[in-house]
């Protein structure tokens, strides 16, 4: 208990760092994921190829390797940004591949008749996708999207090992100060549980509110 009360600000900074990293990466992952899902279902073949390549490569890359390439490799490539931004890029791109696949499976659940009806009203591909198919797809994939976001929150732990201020990283500071490692980890675990449980609660609520009745 003493570890927490004595170092509340360290834990709090780490906790906020994890939250911030999760939130910003989630936004990037959603944007990129929607774009790639759009590519993957588009009638234009080169775009489909790009989407497929993006998903295949990123889903089969270890996240640690991606962090290594982005945080240590990109600066050698002549791109220098704050570590936090690099971590967002790595996490966002990695998660976007999973977001894309979840969305695509959601698009597949939309009945063909919906698209046919949209086309018979004279809608273009973009209109069909944006106004008819995607809104339904989003609502039918709330649950799997929740697990992707929980995985993202858990993956932020890797950023801590690459010197981004983050919850897991706090153990190093406290270890140096000579606090009990066991209790430090208990509080780190509690912090992560709070975040993952909160995400799962939000998505459960959304799932109940947004379910598509067919």
């Amino acid at each position: 208990m003493k570890v927490l009360t004595d170092n509340f600000s360290t834990f709090w900074d780490g906790f906020l760092g994890t939250l911030e990293l999760t939130a910003v990466s989630a936004v990037l992952a959603l944007l990129l994921g929607v774009l790639m899902a759009g590519f993957r279902v588009s009638p234009v073949k080169p775009l489909r190829t790009v989407g497929t390549a993006w998903v295949t490569v990123l889903r089969n890359t270890p996240l640690t390797l991606l962090f290594f390439a982005v945080l240590l490799g990109l600066p050698r490539f002549g791109i220098s940004l704050p570590f936090f931004t690099f971590a967002v890029i790595a996490l966002g791109c990695y998660t976007s591949a999973f977001v894309c696949e979840v969305l695509r499976s959601g698009i597949n659940t939309v009945p063909v008749g919906q698209g046919e009806a949209a086309r018979s009203l004279g809608m273009t591909f973009g209109q069909t996708l944006n106004l008819v198919v995607l809104p339904q797809a989003f609502r039918s994939v709330v649950a799997p999207m929740g697990s992707v976001m929980i995985a993202l929150a858990k993956n932020t732990a890797i950023a801590g090992s690459f010197s981004v201020v983050e919850l897991l990283g706090t153990y190093r500071t406290l270890n140096e100060l000579g606090y009990s490692i066991l209790w430090t980890f208990v509080w780190i675990a509690v912090g992560y549980l709070v975040i993952t449980l909160a995400i799962s609660a939000v998505f459960n609520l959304m799932e109940r509110r947004l379910a598509v009745s067919r």
Partner: protein, 286 residues
Amino acid sequence: MSSSALYDVPGPKAAARHLLYGILSTVALLAVVGWVVWKLFDTDQFTYQKWMPFEYQGVQELLLRGLGNTLKAFALTALLALPFGALFAAGRLSDHRVVRWFATLVVEFFRAMPLLVMIFFIFVAMQVQPFWALVAGLTLYNGSVLAEVFRAGVLAVPKGQREAAFALGLRKTQVMAYVLVPQANRAMLPSIISQLVVALKDTSLGFLITYEEFLHAGKLIATNLDYDLPFIPVVMVIAPVYIGMCLLLSWLARWVEQRGRRSPKVKGGAPIAKAGVSMGLPPEAQ
């Protein structure tokens, strides 16, 4: 894509438009690739000095040893996680409340914790060797996910099968071993292999606790001043190997899935195929 809800088979006008979009996107893509290649040359990533280390036998052996260590951790994890998963899936399906609660608690806890936190805990707080800390963490996490996969598989077997087996006078254990598990295994095999891909990817976390695996070997080379810090060349050598290994396993999973779908036996039991589909999503994006 013929059955897509999104567009019809294009007519001549639409086909021409799609061709135009295709050309435009190809040009944009080539521009990006060109910029990257130019940038690579511009930052001297292709100088002899940066690629020289890969010619030395010692460096090659270092990389091979790292790869061997990666595969060793992966193999041991698979060997331990499968029985762990089976055990805890059985625990969660048990008729005894205490066993069920205990198994549920264990599985849910290890699924909710970031894998790296567990590995660090075992490594730092319990003072375990890096190799065993990595394998233990991977086993606990992937074993817990596999337990859920097994459980979903057993629950997806049509209820009549269990009832018929009980009606024939089989015992609880016999129903499980002879009727439910063989069918569950068959339906869940693709998901199991997909989870093994996750385990293979996560062995790279060993890099963060100084286990001398493939990425660790790469970092040793990349941080060497004598070779002018060849970070990008190292990534270019290591990434394809990792991605290739995971792709091979992913393809195996898809091949098994298609093979299962083709079989007339599975076609008869629609619920099995359905369970396979719902678990076909990436279970965790870890």
